[in-house]
Symmetry: C2
Subunit: 201 residues, 2 copies
DNA sequence: TAAGTTGCGTGCAGGTTGTATGTAACTTTA
DNA sequence: TAAAGTTACATACAACCTGCACGCAACTTA
């Protein structure tokens, strides 16, 4: 074993983390197209060479950022679903929905996940990343609902897609509304009957 | 009156139309970021000067393209709703929904309206343009439904937003699916109970 | 017809991305 | 532990792209 002060893996991990953190901040603030690689590496205190060594592309860095953000949101959602306690299916879905709305009130999510994601990565790759995190979570919840008989049997995958799309739009709608609180109440009022409709036999 | 062969308004209209048509084709094929102004003006057989005279910006050209596409889709939707004949509200909504899916199977719509729109123009401006065309149409249908008593009274504006968001995602889902026909059938199966839920008192 | 406005063509400046080339840090092998 | 090899990073450079400035031509108005 050598006496190296920093292993190569550590160096890589540190610069990757710094770049992802910087990208996350700046992409959220100015959008993918609005921030240059120069600004990113300055924020991360590394050189452009490091960026292009760690990520093949500015786009690849964005993908890494998106993946991290989605991962965090998914954790928040399972936490929210966990506290939701005993199992009315409708309530579980609605609590997850509002947890999603809350998570999306940070600009990170809106700009990176909802606005730029599809445009920068293309819809297919964007949804593939969602699939690994939030979208997969929703599908799982729906599958359990169907298995438990609490949910009308319907094709789960397309259902998860449209429900998540609803949640995405709701998040953007709420944030853009003059009175977010009122808008969120409206949204819940609109979504509740839709979820309830799915719950009946 | 002069004997001018072409009036200024005609010149402007012709170059504007050529630029919008070129932008429409190329934006649909390669995305907003993937096509340079040089390619656009070559396709339109004008100079870059003409572009920057007619539109302040590459972004402004994109907005004009989006506006045109939305206008055409809205016309298709009213046509579809017109042939839908006598009035079951659920059937009207579902026919409009499938008409939307059909319209979105042309790549023009997907890439320009659904993918790049929010990213290039920002969500607020994007939805404002939708409001003038498709989104406004949906809101109108819902308002009539409420007035006629065919629809549970709910806040119409947020409802229109989530329904349209569902339709957007459905369109992209169907197109990306290995078997679009099957995916579309699934989507209709999923959306129908949701619409029916809104229709009952 | 002369003056003024509108539409358009072209060259230029600033900025951006990705790559090529060189160097330092770390790891493996003998 | 010393040499060889690999990995991580720094920097200079080439290609490109956007938007503007300036100038000219077409049209309109007085």
């Amino acid at each position: 074993m050598t006496l190296s002060r920093r292993t190569q893996a550590d160096r890589s991990a540190a610069t990757r983390a710094a770049l992802i953190a910087a990208g996350r901040t700046l992409f959220a603030q100015h959008g993918f197209a609005g921030v240059g690689t120069e600004a990113i590496v300055r924020e991360a205190s590394v050189s452009r060479g490091a960026l292009y060594h760690q990520f093949g592309d500015k786009t690849e860095l964005f993908a890494a950022v998106l993946d991290e953000v989605e991962h965090e949101i998914a954790q928040e959602l399972v936490a929210a679903a966990g506290t939701s306690g005993d199992g009315d299916f409708v309530e579980l879905m609605l609590e997850t929905f509002t947890a999603w709305l809350d998570a999306c009130q940070t600009p990170h999510v809106q700009r990176i996940v909802l606005i730029d994601g599809p445009s920068v990565l293309g819809w297919a790759r964007w949804r593939a990343i969602c699939q690994h995190h939030v979208l997969g979570l929703v599908e799982g919840m729906l599958s359990e609902g169907v298995a438990a008989g609490a949910l009308t049997p319907l094709p789960v995958k397309p259902l998860a897609h449209v429900l998540l799309a609803m949640a995405d739009e709701a998040a953007l709608y709420v944030d853009a509304a003059p009175s977010p609180a009122a808008a969120q109440a409206d949204m819940v009022a609109v979504v509740r009957p839709l979820i309830e409709a799915l719950a009946r036999e």
